[in-house]
């Protein structure tokens, strides 16, 4: 237990230290930066609420990635899936709300978003299942395509011309996802937590999850064991993209109420390291996502106040990934030594 805590803490600390040195080299005070980030992202009430709000889409993306990674599938097409699902929710909600109650509107939008994202992942799934084509490359291609396609959709068919910038029709605040108690936090966080727990349960406690894990560990052995690897591949892609799509819907229905052209938070590749850090464990990922949400919210304030652009968070994520892999490697080596 002690050891596994260390294995997680050491990469984080190393990343923060090396990142701090980079800040120092750029002439900024790292201590002041980190302090400000913590202050804005965690210890102020408004910042804390924003952090929780931000955690909702991140957690949904993370749960989608856990399904994929555990099944040995590298779904790196998160951003495209997320944005197209967001467009679907943003375009549909204002139309439905004129005829239906808001709870039904929200449910239908979420379902449609899930389906849109799952459909978008069909091509990489087909190429993987049929020809064994590397899904890293295909999902990345689909994500670049999806980002532009989402923009085209917002600018042309779903554009609401009454606004000055291209964006979809706005869903009234009263009809969005409900708020929790007296806060500004919307109920998306509940949906996200439920999704994470559900995914964790399915992957670790059900035969379906076990099958996916076998495919992930060794596709050839899975085939020998009589599993339909092709069908499981489609299922993995659909689930992974669907959860990501739900994230897009929650972000639109909970926070924005509309989708603007050129809006792309690019959460995809940023959530990947969190899922790794958590070793594909759904419970652990919650902690890391909160940590990261603090970093993002605090970092956004810091970029306005301290003049450290938000790109710095990208550097931090890269350092985190690298040190994580390094610690993993050292751990592996020491175990090999013990064996020998």
């Amino acid at each position: 237990m002690m050891f596994s805590v260390l294995r997680v803490l050491v990469p984080i600390i190393l990343a923060l230290v090396v990142g701090g040195l980079i800040l120092l080299a750029l002439g900024k005070d790292p201590i002041a930066y980190y302090e400000y980030v913590l202050q804005r992202g965690l210890f102020s009430w408004s910042g804390f609420q924003q952090t929780i709000i931000r955690a909702a889409p991140l957690l949904l993306i993370a749960s989608g990635l856990i399904v994929a990674f555990r099944a040995g599938i590298w779904n790196l097409g998160v951003d495209g899936q997320f944005l197209l699902a967001a467009v679907a929710a943003a375009a549909l909600a204002p139309i439905l709300i004129t005829a239906l109650p808001s709870w039904l509107t929200i449910i239908i939008c979420c379902v449609v978003s899930i389906l849109v994202a799952a459909l978008w992942s069909l091509i990489p799934a087909f190429l993987k299942a049929q020809y064994g084509l590397n899904e890293i490359v295909t999902t990345l291609m689909m994500t670049f395509l999806g980002i532009s396609f989402a923009n085209v959709l917002v600018k042309l068919p779903f554009n609401d011309p009454t606004n000055s910038v291209p964006q979809t029709e706005i869903l009234p605040v009263a009809d969005r996802l409900g708020r929790l108690f007296d806060t500004t936090i919307h109920s998306g966080i509940i949906i996200a937590l439920a999704a994470v727990f559900l995914v964790h349960f399915v992957m670790t406690r059900t035969s379906f999850g076990l099958r996916l894990q076998i495919v992930g560990a060794n596709p050839r052995a899975a085939r020998h064991a009589g599993l339909n690897v092709g069908r499981l591949t489609y299922a993995t892609f659909a689930l992974s993209a669907g959860l990501t799509g739900l994230g897009g819907a929650v972000e639109i229905l909970g926070v924005w109420g509309t989708m603007r052209a050129d809006w792309n938070p690019a959460y995809g590749l940023l959530v990947v390291p969190l899922v790794f850090l958590a070793r594909f464990n759904g419970i652990a990922v919650i902690g890391f996502t909160l940590f990261f949400a603090i970093l993002m919210i605090g970092g956004e304030s810091a970029s306005r106040r301290l003049g450290v652009p938000n790109f710095y968070v990208l550097v931090l994520v890269a350092l985190l990934l690298t040190f994580l892999a390094l610690v993993e490697y050292l751990d592996h080596v020491s175990r090999q030594r013990k064996k020998a």
């Binding site: 490359v137 689909m142 670049f144 085209v152 790794f276 550097v315 892999a325």
Partner: protein, 311 residues
């Protein structure tokens, strides 16, 4: 539609195709060398972007395009050396490190650019061209192909050199063995890790060069995140080319034309939103993959670290 295909239209189409195609060609050839040796270089995008930044800054301050290309290539190589250290020597996960390198370079170059130029985007001076006598006189294609910076001709020459290297030399055989059956290469007395390291470093240089070309010749300036997925397109090109450098040239040309088409259409007065333009190359890749996927080929030991004596 007859009126569309004027001489100006076709000329700008070809000219743009070369400008866009050369970075893809350089990076694609580079990736092919890595893949052949058994390293899936997902960090290619990062290497290109670092090359774009290093190449631009050098050319901007030194006023020398050649120095810019050299430093661009070396910048790509520096990123590649991290890949070598982590993935070849320490056998760490190639995909995780590849993603880390790309994200890290994206953040780092954007930060550096911010602190150097703030929100301004200074331009380089006009690109000096090396005109090929007689050939430059050819109508339509003369300007597009034979009035270019000398690096363009070198890039095309590289295809021939690499093809020869793969086919006729020991170096090529060693590379192939490192990807197909590393244990056999080891048994033959050649160090697998050194072979792979050399391959990845070469890839880094070529990708960096491609990035520097994008910044210095293609755009004339540096913008954060400017490689916009080109590194990943190059990976696809290398995958589909099944180890043949000439096919990378063919693929890069195809892509170049599809990308340049939209710019050329705008020259011709047809108005197309930029988002549609940006979709084209990726839609092309997907289409090509669906049609020709069963023909793509990757070496058996791709992505797997090599440990002597391990089965």
């Amino acid at each position: 539609m007859d009126g569309l295909f004027t001489e100006a239209f076709v000329t700008s189409l070809f000219f743009g195709a070369v400008t866009v195609g050369i970075p893809l060609l350089l990076a694609g050839i580079g990736e092919q060398i890595s893949e052949k040796a058994g390293v899936l270089n997902i960090g290619l995008e990062g290497m290109m972007l670092m090359g774009a930044y290093g190449g631009f800054v050098t050319a901007y301050y030194s006023d020398s395009f050649w120095l810019g290309f050299l430093v661009g290539g070396v910048s790509g190589m520096v990123v590649a050396s991290l890949m070598v250290l982590f993935c070849v020597f320490l056998s760490m996960n190639q995909i995780v490190i590849g993603i880390a390198l790309t994200i890290g370079v994206e953040g780092l170059t954007a930060l550096l650019h911010h602190f150097q130029f703030s929100r301004t985007y200074p331009r380089l001076s006009e690109v000096p061209s090396m005109d090929i006598p007689l050939l430059q006189e050819i109508p339509v294609i003369g300007h597009a192909f034979f009035e270019r910076h000398a690096i363009v001709y070198l890039a095309v020459l590289l295809v021939v050199v690499v093809a020869w290297l793969f086919k006729r030399t020991h170096v090529g055989l060693n590379l192939q063995a490192a990807g197909d059956k590393p244990a056999a290469l080891d048994a033959a007395g050649v160090d697998v890790k050194i072979t792979r390291a050399a391959a990845v470093l070469t890839t880094g240089f070529l990708a960096g060069l491609g990035g520097a070309f994008m910044a210095n010749i293609g755009a004339g300036l540096f913008v954060p995140f400017m490689t916009h997925g080109n590194g990943f397109i190059a990976i696809v090109l290398a995958m589909l080319a099944r180890g043949h450098p000439l096919w990378v040239l063919f693929g890069a040309t195809l892509f170049g034309v599809s990308l340049a088409l939209t710019t050329a259409l705008q020259v011709a007065g047809v108005n197309i939103p930029t988002d549609v333009v940006q979709m084209l190359p990726f839609a092309m890749v997907i289409l090509v993959l669906i049609l020709f996927a069963r023909h793509s080929y990757l070496p058996p030991a791709l992505g797997l670290p090599y440990h002597r004596g391990e089965r």
